[in-house]
C-alpha cells in the first residue's frame, strides 16, 4: 500500500518535470523534514520507532553520550561516573543545566525519571531499555546512584542511548500523554508544537549547555508526516521540503543524478537473517537436520542480494549480530559461501535428493524475501510463502509455529551484541535453537563486567550458532538521506537524524 504502488514510475516523471534550482527555507532558517510513519507519542519511553529516537535526541539528553564516530563515551548530563560495585553506578551531574520550561536540572530529576521508567507497571514500551535498573538514589543535589537489578555491563551504552532525563515536577504532573503533547527536556531543541502523529515544530534551545552533542545551528526544524515516499519526493522537487530519509535505493539512485540534491548513504544496524526452527517446535520439519540448515546457508547468494537489491553501504553479514556491536566477533563466525551444488549434495545426504516443501514466512521487504525464495527453489527447496503483518508473524513465532522465516533486527541502535544475539538465543519465546551451550556462553558474556571475558564468550556463542547454522545471517540494511544542496549534513551509521550537526551551506 505504501511505496510499492509505483516504486520508480514517479521518479522518472518527476525527473523530467523538475525544473531545477533549490528553494530551501534557508532565508527563514527553517529546515523542513519529512517523517514517513506516524509517531505514536513524542515521549521517548512510550514509542518504539525511529522517528521517536530522532526527536528524543533533539529534545532530551541522556546522562552519558556516545560519540557516533568514535564510539567513545562522554559525559552529557553527568560529568563523570564510576562503578561502586557490580550493581551500583555513581554519577556526578552537570551543574547549571535548565529544562526548556526553566526548571533547574538536579539529582531529583534523575531519581524521579529512573524510578518511574524502571517500574514495569508504568508501561514503558520497550522494557529492555529500562528494566535493568532497580532504582535511583540521591546522594546530594548533583550526585546520584543508580542501582541495577543484577550485573549489566551494557549499562553505560543504555544510559547513552534510550534513557533520557525528564523534569521530575513536570513529568509527575502531566505524565506520558502530557509529555507527548508538550514535551520538555534539556536538549538542543525545544518543542514549539505537536500535532500527534502529523506535525512537529522545533526551535533551537538558545541556552543549551556545553554538551558533546554540539550547539544547534539551524534555528527552526519543521517536521511533517508524509506517508507516501513519492509525495515526499514531490515536496522535495517543489521546494517545500529540505530533507528526506529512508529513501528506497532505486529512487535515491535517480535523485543522485540531479544537481540540486545531495544523496548520502549510510549503513544501519539492522540485520536481515533466516530463522530456522532447529529445535523442531513447529514439528519435525527438514530444518531440524543440521545438513539441511547448512544447505540453506550455502544456497543463498548474499553477495548478489547486496549488490542488486540492497545496494549502498549494505554488506554481507555472517554473524547473528551487527559487526560493529561490542562482542560481535566476526572471525568467530563460520561463514558459508554460495555453493548451490554443495547445497544440493547436503540435501541429498540428509535424505532429500529431490528437495522438499516448507512454509516460508516474511513480514517486510517482500522483494528480498522473494529473491531468497528463488535461491531456495533453485536447489530444490519448494517454499509455501506466507507474507504476514509483523504482529501476526511475531505471535506465531513466539508460539513456535514457524519453521523458516526471513526476519530482521535493528538492535534499537544499541552497539552491544547483547542487544541482538542475547535477544534470540537465551531460550526465550523467540528462540528456535534452544541450545544449552549457547545459553551458557551468553549468560556469562551478558553478566560479566570484564570486557575480555565478554568478548571471549560472545565469540564462543557466535561460533556455536554459526557452526550449527541455527540462522542464515544475510546482510545489513542501509538508508538513503536526500537533501537540497543548501543543507550540509553527514549522516551517522546508526540511522538517527541529528539536527545539531546540520547546517546551511
Amino acid at each position: 500500500m505504501k511505496t510499492s504502488w509505483l516504486k520508480s514510475g514517479i521518479a522518472s516523471i518527476a525527473l523530467v518535470a523538475a525544473t531545477g534550482g533549490a528553494w530551501a527555507e534557508k532565508a527563514n532558517d527553517t529546515l523542513r523534514v519529512a517523517f514517513t510513519k506516524e509517531l505514536e507519542n513524542v515521549d521517548s519511553f512510550f514509542n518504539s520507532s525511529r522517528e521517536g529516537v530522532v526527536l528524543q535526541r533533539a529534545i532530551w539528553d541522556g546522562l552519558i553520550y556516545r560519540d557516533p564516530a568514535t564510539n567513545e563515551y562522554k559525559g552529557n548530563l553527568a560529568t563523570s561516573w564510576e562503578w561502586i560495585d557490580d550493581t551500583t553506578l555513581e554519577l556526578k551531574l552537570r551543574e547549571g543545566v535548565t529544562f526548556h520550561n526553566g526548571a533547574p536540572f538536579s539529582a531529583d530529576d534523575v531519581v524521579y525519571t529512573v524510578n518511574f521508567v524502571s517500574k514495569e507497571e508504568n508501561g514503558v514500551k520497550t522494557q529492555r531499555n529500562v528494566n535493568w535498573m532497580e532504582s535511583a538514589e540521591k546522594v546530594d543535589d548533583y550526585t546520584v546512584r543508580i542501582h541495577l537489578k543484577e550485573k549489566f555491563p551494557a549499562a553505560i551504552e543504555f544510559l547513552s542511548g534510550p534513557v533520557s532525563m525528564y523534569p521530575a515536577e513536570y513529568y509527575a504532573e502531566v505524565g506520558p500523554s502530557g509529555m507527548g503533547l508538550e514535551p520538555v527536556g534539556t536538549g538542543p531543541y525545544k518543542v514549539v508544537s505537536v500535532v500527534p502523529g502529523q506535525h512537529f515544530v522545533l526551535e533551537k534551545n538558545e541556552n543549551y549547555h556545553d554538551s558533546p552533542k554540539g550547539q544547534p545551528e539551524i534555528t527552526n526544524v519543521d517536521i511533517r508526516t508524509i506517508p507516501d515516499v513519492n509525495t515526499q519526493m514531490a515536496e522535495l522537487f517543489s521546494g517545500s521540503l529540505d530533507l528526506i530519509w529512508q529513501v528506497p535505493a532505486d529512487q535515491a539512485e535517480k535523485l543522485a543524478t540531479m544537481d540540486q540534491f545531495t544523496v548520502k548513504n549510510e549503513s544501519t544496524m539492522r540485520v536481515g537473517y533466516l530463522n530456522m526452527d532447529a529445535a523442531g517446535r513447529s514439528g519435525d520439519t527438514p530444518v531440524t537436520d543440521l545438513r539441511v540448515r547448512r544447505a540453506i546457508n550455502h544456497a543463498i547468494n548474499r553477495e548478489e542480494l547486496v549488490n542488486a537489491l540492497l545496494k549502498g553501504k549494505s554488506r554481507v553479514v555472517s554473524t547473528p549480530c551487527f559487526p560493529s556491536q561490542f562482542g560481535c566477533v566476526e572471525e568467530a563466525a563460520k561463514s558459508y559461501d554460495y555453493d548451490p551444488e554443495k547445497a544440493k549434495a547436503l540435501l541429498a545426504e540428509a535424505g532429500y535428493p529431490d528437495g522438499f516443501t516448507i512454509e516460508f514466512y516474511a513480514y517486510r521487504n517482500r522483494e528480498y524475501a522473494e529473491a531468497i525464495m528463488s535461491y531456495l527453489n533453485a536447489v530444490g527447496i519448494d517454499t509455501d510463502f506466507k507474507f504476514l503483518q509483523y504482529s501476526a508473524l511475531r505471535e506465531q513465532n513466539m508460539k513456535g509455529e514457524v519453521p523458516l522465516a526471513f526476519l530482521t533486527w535493528g538492535s534499537f541502535s544499541i552497539n552491544d551484541a547483547s542487544a541482538m544475539v542475547s535477544q534470540f538465543f537465551k531460550h526465550g519465546s523467540l528462540d528456535d535453537a534452544r541450545d544449552d551451550q549457547v545459553l551458557e556462553y551468553l549468560n556469562t558474556a551478558d553478566s560479566s563486567t570484564d570486557p575480555e571475558t565478554r568478548i571471549e564468550h560472545y565469540a564462543k556463542a557466535i561460533e556455536r550458532i554459526t557452526e550449527q547454522a541455527y540462522w542464515a545471517p544475510m546482510f545489513s540494511y542501509n538508508t538513503n538521506y536526500v537533501f537540497t544542496n543548501e543543507v550540509e549534513y553527514t549522516p551517522t551509521a546508526d540511522e538517527v537524524l541529528r539536527f545539531t550537526t546540520m547546517s546551511w551551506n
Binding site: S48, K125, R128, S238, S240, Q389, S391, E395
Partner: protein
Amino acid sequence: MLTFTLKRLGLAVLVALTVSFISFTLLFLAGDPAAALAGETASGEDIEAISKLYGFDRPMLVQYGDWLFSALRGDFGESYYFRLPVSSLIFDRLGVTMTLGVCGISFALLTAVPLGVAAAIRPNSIIDRVALFLSVAGQAMPSFWFGLILIVLFAIKLGWLPPSGASGPMHFIMPTIVLGYYAMPAIMRLTRAGMLDVLSSDYIRTARAKGAPEGRVLFRHALRNAIIPVVSLAAVQMGFMLGGSIVVESIFALHGAGYLAWESIARNDLPTVQALILVFSMFYIVFTFLADVLNAWLDPRMRSS
C-alpha cells in the same frame, strides 16, 4: 412517519452492533495486539507485559462486552497506539475527511450530472463521446496514479498548488479532483441512462406537445425523475468517500479518518478501529436514510409506499 423513523433508527443500531461485533472478531483473529503495540524492537517479555497491562489475556467476549458498555457511555477508550482518547483523535481527523468528502461528492455531482444530461440530449454526438471517454478514463485510472500526475503537473511543473498537506483551501483542490473524478463516471452513466429512458417516455412527449419550454421539460420533468437512482448512488459514494479515501489521504498527506483507519488496522489499535468502524457505518446509515427522504420528496409515489 414517527414509527417509520423509529424503526429505521432501531435497525441502524442493530446494523452498527453487528458490524462492530464482526469487525472485533476479525481483528482479533488478525494478530496479537500486544505484539503490534510493542513494536518491532520488543522482546517476548515486553509483549507479555503489554498483554497483561491491556488485558488482552482475557477472553474475547469479555473484552468486547467491556468495549460495548464504555462505548454506550460515549467512552471509546484510549488509543493503544497514540495513548490519547479515541474520541478526540477521531474528531480531529474527521474534519479533514468530511471536507474532502463533501468537496469530492460536490465536484462529482456538479460535473457528472450536467455531462450526463448533455450526453443524453444528443446521444452519439461529440459531447456523448467525450463524456464516454471521460467516464472510461475515470474508471480505469487508479487514483494514486491520477493523484501523482496532478502533483507532478500542478505542484512541481507549474508550481500553482502545494503538493500535500491540509493547512489551507488550496491543499484540497487536487484531492477533491482525484476523489471526485473516481466517483464521477458511475454518476454520469446513471444520469445519462436515466435521462435517455425518461426522455423517450410518453409524458415528456405530452409536455413538449403542450408547448412547455425545453428547459422546463428537461429539468422539471425529465431530470427530476431520472435523478432518483443517482441520489441513492451518490449517498453510497459519499459513504465510501468518508471511509475509503485512504489512497487519496495517503498520497496528499491529509491525515484524515480513512488513513487513520487503515493505519490503525495495521497497528492492531483495536479501540480506534472499533470506533471508526462504528462512525463509518453510521455514515452509511445516515446517508442512505437522507437519500430515502430526498427521494421521497422528489417522487411522491415513494411517500405512500
